[in-house]
Symmetry: C2
Subunit: 213 residues, 2 copies
DNA sequence: TTCGGGCTTTCGGCCTGCCTAAATCTCGGC
DNA sequence: GCCGAGATTTAGGCAGGCCGAAAGCCCGAA
């Protein structure tokens, strides 16, 4: 099976699901994330499993094989490098890059990707703090905890903010919170910044932020 | 009908055919340029005509309507801006950009295209001297003559070199000939450069070069 | 004027990727 | 242990884009 944009999006979405939590993805969740009908997922799952990219027992969850993981890593790498490039060189804000990257991730050649990577100084993470896999799929993971799950008093650095909801990203930017921000958790939705100022976060936002442990 | 990559490639190819010569393109030539079967062209022609993008009488040639011309201009503009960007900023040589642009022309958003255009200082032509249409499809055409058709003694500036064959581009680059080069035609395949040196061009190359009249 | 080769179109088919509706399965709650 | 809600799969279809084979058209050469 050739690796079409659809295949790449399926692999990437399966990959992303287990990036910050261990449970494998189910067909219905995958369908919802991709915005397609569950029956469409069933079909593609057959093809991906047939190509040795995922494993799947009927009515069970989906897991990437090593080959599928490598393929997914390549897409994720392209997506995140593109996002980083758009923010650092093309005047985009971090809440504006996702849709553009969603398309370009399927269109860049290896050569152009390498040129962008070099220009950017081989960044290790994208504007949202998501790690950029190396060309061989490897990356250096750091133990992290959701801000919403952190105990009051927990102090840490923002590792990553889910880029799913642009509105959250804009709100956080307005609060000067981004990857690298140091903060202390006061209670479930309040944090103290280094200057001592306090920020009250929406529950959605608190669930989107991951801190060092 | 939505404007898919296939539609964009058809429009662009029809557009390009009449850019340097007046005869409209025929289905078989279009099929050859696109690398598809003639029957595939017949099908797409029906769709394009139905959408008001081209005119076509059965067994006749194909012509862009004003709407089709506008659509084609947009694709050509994206293609040529991408080529220019790859050469000026991403370390590509002028014979290496075509395939990459062939894909990216379908993937860039208007916003990203605008950002690239601004970065490059709104260039009027691409690395091969091909004019870059403005967003409204307009461009400033200059009378030109094929080097192969120029009379001995004709002196002019290189306006444009067809980018169809990368090998020709490499050869010409080795001879220090490119858009803007001043040269005098000696006989069909020989030219004199400003320094006085003489270059013997392959017939293919002489047919690919367009000079000021 | 006729004829035939070359274009063009028609026809039937294939593949990808998506859909809805209708089975079918699974698993937690009773 | 049974049952039903929810998840998953099956079945049948559709649209886009392509193909090869066969039929149809057109025009220049004779
Ligand atoms: Mn995508
Ligand atoms: Mn991101
Ligand atoms: Mn193209
Ligand atoms: Mn060009």
């Amino acid at each position: 099976m050739s690796t079409t944009p659809a295949v790449e999006d399926y692999l990437k979405t399966i990959y992303a699901h287990t990036e910050w939590q261990p449970e494998p993805i189910t067909p219905s969740v995958l369908a919802a994330r991709l915005g397609v009908a569950p029956s469409s997922v069933t079909e593609m799952v057959k093809k991906l499993a047939g190509a040795g990219l995922i494993t799947h027992v009927p009515y069970g969850p989906l897991r990437l094989t090593p080959a599928g993981f490598l393929g997914a890593s390549a897409v994720v790498r392209r997506h995140r490098l593109v996002e980083t490039w758009l923010v650092r060189e093309m005047g985009y804000d971090w809440d504006q890059v996702h849709d553009e990257a969603e398309i370009l991730e399927h269109a860049l050649s290896d050569r152009l990707l390498e040129a962008i990577d070099v220009r950017l100084g081989r960044p290790g993470s994208d504007p949202h703090g998501d790690l950029i896999p190396a060309a061989d799929g490897s990356l250096v993971r750091v133990p992290a905890i959701r801000l919403a799950d952190a105990a009051p008093g927990h102090a840490g650095t923002v590792l990553r903010i889910s880029d799913r909801d642009p509105a959250i990203l804009r709100d956080l930017a307005a609060d000067s919170i981004g990857p690298g921000s140091a903060l202390t958790v006061l209670e479930s939705c309040a944090v103290r910044l280094p200057g001592g100022s306090i920020r009250l976060l929406a529950p959605d936002a608190a669930a989107s932020i991951w801190l060092t442990k």
